[in-house]
Amino acid sequence: MKTELLWPFTVATAALLFAAWTAASALNLVNPLFLPGPGLLFSSFLDLLLNGYKGYSLPAHIGISLMRVLLGFGSGAIVGTLIGLGMGAAPLFDALAAPFVEFLRPLPQLAYLVLLIVWFGIGETSKIVLLFLTALPVAAIAARDGVRNVPLQRIQAARALGASPAQIFRHVIFPSALPEIFIGARLAVGIVYATLIAAEIIAGSNGIGWLVFDAGRFLRSDYVFVGVLLIGLMGLGLDFALRTIERKVVHWAGK
C-alpha cells in the first residue's frame, strides 16, 4: 500500500517539532508559562501520577472522564442511529424529527449548560445528558444519510426477488447504511470528546477535562499541556477502538 510508505514523513515531522520544542525551552527562548519544556512537562506528569490532582489520582480523573464519554457517546450514538434509521426509511418520521435534530446539531453546549443544571442537577446525569445530546444529532444524520444513499436498484432487486419490507430493511438497507453509521459514530466520538470540558465544568471537581480547565485558571500551563496530551491520546485510543470494530463489522466497506 502506498500510504504505508509515508510513515517516515509522519515520524520526521513529529521529531522535528519535538526537536524545535526542546531547543526552544533549553535556550530559554520562550517563557515556560507559555510553553513548558519537555523536562518540566515530564516532571509535572510524574507529579500528577504520584500525587494526583486536587483530591483525585490521575487514573481516577481519566477513568471518570472515560466513563462519561462512553456513557454519553454510547447512549447518544445508539438512540441517534435508531432515530436516523427511522428518518431515512420513513419520510413522515423525517419530517417530524428533522427540525429537532437539525436544531440541536449546531447548538453550542455552553449556551444551555445552566438549563441542564436546573433540569438534571449537578451530578453525573447533567454531564452525561450533555454528551448524549452532543452525540445524538451527529449519529442521527449519518444514519439517515446512510439509509438515503442505499442504491435504489439494490432495494428494487430485493423486492423483485420477493423480500418483505422488513426483510429489505434488515438485509439490504441496514447493512448498506452501516459504513456511514460507523463514520457518524467516529465523528460523534470526536465531538463528544471536544464537549467533555464543557460537561465537566458543571460543578466539577474531577475528570481530565476539568483538570485542564482548572489548571488553566492559574496559568499552570505544565498541567494544561499534560492534560491536553492525555486527552489527545485517549481520543486516538477511542478512535482506534472504533476503527477496529468497524473493520470487523463492515469489513466490506470501501471494497
Binding site: N51, K54, V114, V118, I202, G204, F218, L219
Partner: protein
C-alpha cells in the same frame, strides 16, 4: 594616525541623526501619553463603574480607553501575560498573588476594596448548619480560583475539615443559583448578585470573614498595571488612579447619586446597587498608603504579607508551582503613582 580625520561628513550625519533620535526619544518620554489604554474589568456594582461610564479614566489619562469585560481574575492575568491588557481593574487578591508568583509582568498599584463580608458563606436555613462540624457531608459550591474559593479553603483549613469530609464543588455564580434552587447544594461561598439571590431563597449568612481575616485570609480587590506600561507612561497611570479616587469621593459624599450611576452602568436597580455597594469596604486612596494596606512608596505594607500567604496557600492547593519570598511581593507593590495622586 589622526582619528580626527575620520570625522567625515558621513560620520557627522550619522551623529546628527543619532542626536535627533535621542532628542525625539526624550521628548516622547516627557510627553508620555499612551496611544490607548486597554483595561480588563468586571461589570460590578462598585465606584469604578462611575469613573468608567462617565469617561473619567479617559479624561484623566488623556487617551482613549479600550474596555474588555472579563469573567475571572485569571483571565485578566492571562490577558496581561499575553500583552493584550494594560490594566486589571478590581482583580481579586488570589489571582494577583498567583500572577506575582508566576512572574507575570505587572505591578500592584492600588486597591479598590477590602472584601470583608461582601463574599461570605451562605447556608440553607433548613440544613441546620450552626458550627463547622455541621459542614461534614455537605456540598458547598464556589467559583474555583476566586477570592471566595480561597476563603472557603481557609475556612476548611482553620477548622481542620478535609475535602473528603466536605464536598467542594467548582461552580460559576449562576450555576450556584441554579443548583441552590434545585436543592443540590446546602452551602455556597460566593458574592452578590448570586449571594443575594440564594439568601432570598431560604439562605442565611454563616459568618466566617472576621475569624478568617484575623487568621490572615484577607481578600481584597486590586488594581494592577502592566510593568512596561507603568514605566513608560507614569502620568497616565497616576491619572487612572486619580479618576478612581474622584469616583470614590463621589460615592462617599453623595452615595445616592453614585448608586444611581453605578446601577445604570451595571444594569441593576438603584436600590440593589446601593445595598451591594454598602457591603464592600472601599479603602480610601490615603489609607491605602498606610502600612496597614499597601504602604508608602518603597515600604510595602502588611498587604505584601497577605499576598505572600495567599501564594503559599495556592502552592499547597497545587494551583501554582512555587511561591517566591516575601520580598518579591513587596517589590511588586508600587505605590509611587498613588503617592503622586494623594500628594
Amino acid at each position: 594616525m589622526s582619528k580626527g580625520k575620520s570625522f567625515d561628513r558621513r560620520t557627522l550625519l550619522a551623529a546628527g541623526i543619532g542626536l535627533g533620535a535621542g532628542a525625539a526619544l526624550a521628548r516622547g518620554a516627557r510627553a508620555a501619553t499612551p496611544p490607548e489604554a486597554r483595561i480588563g474589568y468586571f461589570v460590578e456594582t462598585k465606584p469604578t463603574m462611575i469613573a468608567k461610564s462617565l469617561g473619567w479614566f479617559a479624561d484623566a489619562m488623556k487617551t482613549k480607553t479600550v474596555w474588555h469585560e472579563m469573567g475571572t481574575g485569571a483571565e485578566i492575568n492571562t490577558g496581561i501575560a499575553a500583552g493584550g491588557l494594560d490594566f486589571g481593574l478590581a482583580i481579586g487578591s488570589s489571582p494577583v498573588a498567583a500572577g506575582i508568583a508566576e512572574g507575570l509582568g505587572y505591578q500592584l498599584i492600588g486597591m479598590v476594596d477590602n472584601i470583608g463580608p461582601a463574599e461570605e458563606m451562605t447556608v440553607r436555613a433548613a440544613a441546620n448548619i450552626t458550627k463547622p462540624a455541621d459542614f461534614i457531608g455537605k456540598k458547598v459550591g464556589t467559583p474555583f480560583g476566586s477570592t471566595s474559593h480561597f476563603r472557603l479553603m481557609g475556612f476548611l483549613a482553620v477548622n481542620h475539615l478535609s475535602q473528603s469530609q466536605v464536598t467542594v464543588l467548582d461552580m460559576s455564580p449562576e450555576q450556584i443559583v441554579a443548583a441552590w434552587k434545585r436543592g443540590d447544594i446546602d452551602a455556597a461561598y460566593v458574592w452578590s448578585p448570586a449571594k443575594a439571590e440564594i439568601l432570598a431563597d431560604g439562605g442565611k449568612v454563616y459568618e466566617t470573614y472576621k475569624e478568617l481575616d484575623a487568621d490572615g485570609y484577607v481578600i481584597a480587590d486590586l488594581i494592577v498595571v502592566r510593568t512596561a506600561f507603568g514605566r513608560r507612561y507614569p502620568d497616565a497611570v497616576a491619572g487612572f488612579l486619580s479618576a478612581y479616587g474622584k469616583a470614590l469621593d463621589l460615592y462617599v459624599t453623595d452615595p445616592d447619586k453614585a448608586a444611581g450611576v453605578v446601577a445604570q452602568a451595571a444594569g441593576v436597580s438603584p436600590a440593589v446597587a446601593k445595598s451591594n455597594l454598602a457591603e464592600y469596604d472601599f479603602v480610601s486612596l490615603k489609607d491605602q498608603l498606610t502600612p496597614e494596606w499597601l504602604g508608602p512608596p518603597g515600604h510595602a505594607g502588611k498587604f505584601a504579607a497577605v499576598l505572600h500567604g495567599t501564594a503559599e496557600f495556592l502552592v499547597q492547593q497545587k494551583s501554582i508551582r512555587s511561591a517566591p519570598p516575601l520580598a518579591t511581593f513587596a517589590a511588586a507593590i508600587d505605590t509611587s503613582y498613588l503617592a503622586k495622586v494623594v500628594g
